[in-house]
């Protein structure tokens, strides 16, 4: 196992408990998808791994996080990134006043002083759209380009474990398809292990090997992606398809959600 999360609890500001005993395992070389609705605790789980809870006054109060054999739940983001874990933040957070290429160069921070030209080439080969924009300020890029930029920026760091937080958020379906294709290629060609947080379960389960479903700060279901895809609850709940195969309206799904709780 590359990453093992053992029964962790996370508390913000010492009082707001968000995660209640989450356990999760990520095998090297796989794409593991973490699904769940808004506020389920997906982002918090990623931040617990990457160490980014600290600046938000969050803390792992219980349990342990083991990466490549050593515990990391007490380390700072500076240390964790240098072990090879890079989180791509939710909502695309570019450096708006830096050019696209300067944004990419920030990805070399954990190996300052080493050459990076080859890495730039690699990133541009995955995201050719960025090449035409390299001298443009990132703040003027489109949403799809920004998603490519923040993923490319993370790739510059040679991550062993890449944590992607809702890459499809707010993007057009065609762009989402393209980006998920690239995520799959990065996983296959670079051997990068990926944890993919998504609300778009349909897309995520198409490229993931394994999946977890989270609700209210707990894991409520897990299994190989193909099993989850076929699971009637998941189908109805997250894919918006009822047993009869008809697409359910958003409102129906919502009311269904209110009635039924996992566990």
């Amino acid at each position: 196992m590359l990453l093992t999360i053992n029964n962790i609890s996370v508390v913000y500001s010492d009082v707001i408990q968000v995660l209640k005993g989450v356990s999760l395992r990520v095998e090297e070389g796989q794409i593991v998808s973490l699904l769940g609705g808004n506020g389920a605790g997906k982002t918090t789980t990623l931040k617990a791994v990457s160490g980014l809870l600290k600046p938000e006054n969050g803390r792992v109060t219980d349990g342990e996080i083991i990466f490549a054999g050593s515990p990391i739940h007490n380390l700072s983001p500076e240390e964790i990134t240098r072990k090879g874990i890079i989180q791509v933040l939710e909502g695309r957070q570019p450096f708006k006043y830096l050019t696209v290429e300067e944004n990419l160069r920030v990805g070399t921070a954990i190996r300052f002083g080493k050459p990076y030209q080859e890495d730039l080439k690699l990133v541009y080969s995955y995201f050719p759209a960025l090449l035409n924009r390299r001298k443009m300020k990132a703040g003027y890029c489109s949403g799809g380009e920004l998603q490519m930029l923040v993923m490319g920026r993370a790739l510059m760091a040679h991550p062993r474990l890449l944590l992607l937080d809702e890459p499809s958020l707010g993007l057009a379906p065609l762009v989402v398809r393209e980006i998920f294709g690239i995520i799959k290629r990065i996983n296959e060609e670079q051997g990068t292990t990926i944890v993919l947080v998504e609300q778009n379960a349909n897309m995520a389960l198409q490229i993931a090997h394994y999946g977890y479903v989270m609700e209210n700060g707990k894991i409520v279901m897990e299994g190989p992606a193909e099993e989850l895809r076929e699971n009637p609850d998941i189908k109805e709940f997250y894919l918006g398809v009822s047993a009869a195969g008809a697409l359910k309206s958003y409102r129906d799904v919502k009311s269904y959600r209110r009635r039924k709780r996992w566990l």
Partner: protein, 292 residues
């Protein structure tokens, strides 16, 4: 007309100096949102360190200059490590109050060691550095200011535009959280901003010491000028700091020459108020890129 040109030239070069020292102030603000009320004391530190090295220890001029810059750099670094770092994450107002305390501490220590009298450097600038066009002349010290200032500006421009460390520093100013997620050593960036700010402040201190003599009250008072300068230029704009500095310097010189030297320190503030009424973010304040 000649009188006007003379004032303009003097104002420009002294303003350039204000701008440079304000640049350091802006750098700290941009990276960590801290307003440094001890900026004037950093300027004074540079001036006194140079005094010690050059006049008392009798070191050669270039060596004293370089050692002073190095000393200021280290001081800035140390101030961040020792005093500011423990306060990271605390409300900003505490941090700003801390810089007020630091200012008092530095000023007190300097007074303790050097007293409040005016010290002067030996007259070391060769007269050929003075330039003359017709009846307008540039004193040697102003020539030096322009040369050193321009050199610093170009050096920093290159550093921030092209070097990796410069790009990391800008990334922290731009989006601290994203910088952290990529492993940028944010605390190191803070320390580096303080070090560079202190270095530039120290450099200004030396030049101001050559122009006006070395006195802790005067020098730390000049530190207060960074406020109109950076507010005018836009708190977050390094280029704005330079131009804001030049505007304030020229206004001061013209006021001193045409109206009254005693109004010199007041008029810039009055102009400042008017400009801010028209452009509340300063002349060059960063316009938020909306599209994201």
């Amino acid at each position: 007309m000649d009188f006007f040109l003379q004032l303009l030239v003097n104002g420009l070069s002294i303003g350039f100096l204000y701008g440079l020292s304000a640049m350091g102030f802006v750098m700290i603000f941009k990276s960590s949102s801290v307003l440094n009320f001890a900026h004037g004391e950093l300027i004074a530190f540079g001036a006194y360190l140079f005094l010690v090295l050059c006049s008392w220890a009798q070191l050669s001029l270039p060596l004293s200059f370089l050692l002073t810059l190095a000393g200021c750099f280290l001081l800035g670094f140390a101030v961040e490590r020792v005093f500011l770092r423990p306060l990271i994450g605390e409300p900003l107002i505490f941090v700003i109050m801390l810089t007020v305390g630091l200012a008092a501490m530095f000023k007190g220590s300097i007074l303790l060691v050097f007293g409040g009298n005016l010290h002067t450097y030996p007259d070391f600038l060769p007269p050929w550095l003075g330039l003359t066009w017709g009846s307008v002349s540039l004193q040697p010290v102003y020539t030096v200011t322009l040369i050193i200032g321009t050199a610093f500006l170009i050096l920093f421009g290159l550093f921030f535009k092209f070097s990796s460390q410069g790009i990391y520093m800008r990334s922290v100013a731009d989006n601290q959280r994203a910088a952290l997620s990529l492993g940028v050593h944010v605390k190191r960036v803070f320390a580096l901003s303080w070090a560079i700010a202190a270095l530039v402040a120290g450099m200004s201190g030396i030049v101001l010491g050559i122009i006006n003599g070395v006195n802790v009250h005067d020098l730390s008072g000049i530190g207060l000028k960074v406020f109109p300068v950076v507010i005018l230029g836009g708190l977050d704009s390094i280029g704005g700091a330079i131009i804001g500095g030049i505007i304030i310097g020229v206004l001061e010189a013209l006021t001193g020459g045409y109206i009254s030297p005693s109004l010199k320190d007041v008029i810039p503030y009055i102009v400042l108020v008017f400009i801010l009424m028209v452009k509340p973010y300063g002349l060059f304040g960063q316009v938020e890129i909306e599209r994201v």
